[in-house]
Symmetry: C2
Subunit: 199 residues, 2 copies
Amino acid sequence: MPVTSTRELIIEKADTLFYEGGYEATSFAEIAAAVGISRGNFYHHFKTKDDILNAVIRRRVMSTRIMLDSWQADGAGPRDRILSFVHMLIANRSKIMAFGCPVGTLCTELAKLDHVAQTHAAEIFGLFRDWLAGQFRVLGAGDRAEQLAMHILSWSQGVAVMAVAFRDEAFIRTEVARIESWLSALPNLPHAAKESQCS
Amino acid sequence: MPVTSTRELIIEKADTLFYEGGYEATSFAEIAAAVGISRGNFYHHFKTKDDILNAVIRRRVMSTRIMLDSWQADGAGPRDRILSFVHMLIANRSKIMAFGCPVGTLCTELAKLDHVAQTHAAEIFGLFRDWLAGQFRVLGAGDRAEQLAMHILSWSQGVAVMAVAFRDEAFIRTEVARIESWLSALPNLPHAAKESQCS
DNA sequence: GTCTATAGCCGGATAGAC
DNA sequence: GTCTATCCGGCTATAGAC
């Protein structure tokens, strides 16, 4: 028995292919070729294509949780932790310029396909939102914590879309710097964030 | 001869279907059914699916130009004109929550498909960027006009992505209000924008 | 310009041997 | 658990009648 099971390998390869080529456009044949198994063998592991999609989303949810936990553990404070999130745009810039954000692009594709898994995929955004809201709460944002979380999440999504449209790395860096200075300008006293200049 | 030619009708219906269902997922049969012609008749007007895509993009470029011209003519000033752009998010909120932004979602889909028309589709963003930069230039933004244009374009794209992911109309309104106050906070003296609080 | 008919391919999915 | 062989349907695209 291999260290990584065939099932896990299928999910892993499908994850990459769904990201880089889109869910609908990725065929069983492509996934099978990437894994190195026959198409027929496929159905021993997954009954339908939707099953693979759900497994891929579950995998992404799990890896997101792990990533957020590590940011939580490693970050010196809430601002530093939020920066971990923001700096994903820099770290993954090449892939983002080529394929966009994995979460955003999947959600929009599933929306157009009117796919049942759309809600499931949006859960990943939910994880980021809740975690970010937690950081803003520590910064004293109070009731506005969730709104600020959605704002920064939305901001990063906009950057990803424009980055893929114009293939512009400089734009990513400019916007990340903008987010950083917006974040430093946020007061950290309780309730003081309610009249931030930028809100 | 009809007022609207069959060719124009095909482009119009394809435009809607590509937006609502995605380019790849939309078949000739669906477009033909929407127009009310047979599949075979289709190829009298368009040789390939890519031809339709290009025609759809050309149509969108033209209608964008017309829209920008009307905003230019009707707006009382640059801030007012920029608000015309921003308020598209409110006016089209239902469609945006269901299918995202027509331009952003097409660009990301074509990027994943590695489609040659990707650059063509990004031209639409280019029109908005240049027009918005013109408005910011009137506001005295100088060299930063284009950067501010990209910022507000990116901002609206982020809102569209999150709106489709969470189907949240309140979020759209909150962010639009945020953009409005950000815009009013921008100084309109030449060079004064370089140290705006939010930049 | 519009139709029907059909070619040819590739998609997801199944059956059954090994 | 993996394979080959195959079904069925929908797809793009073509041919040719009207």
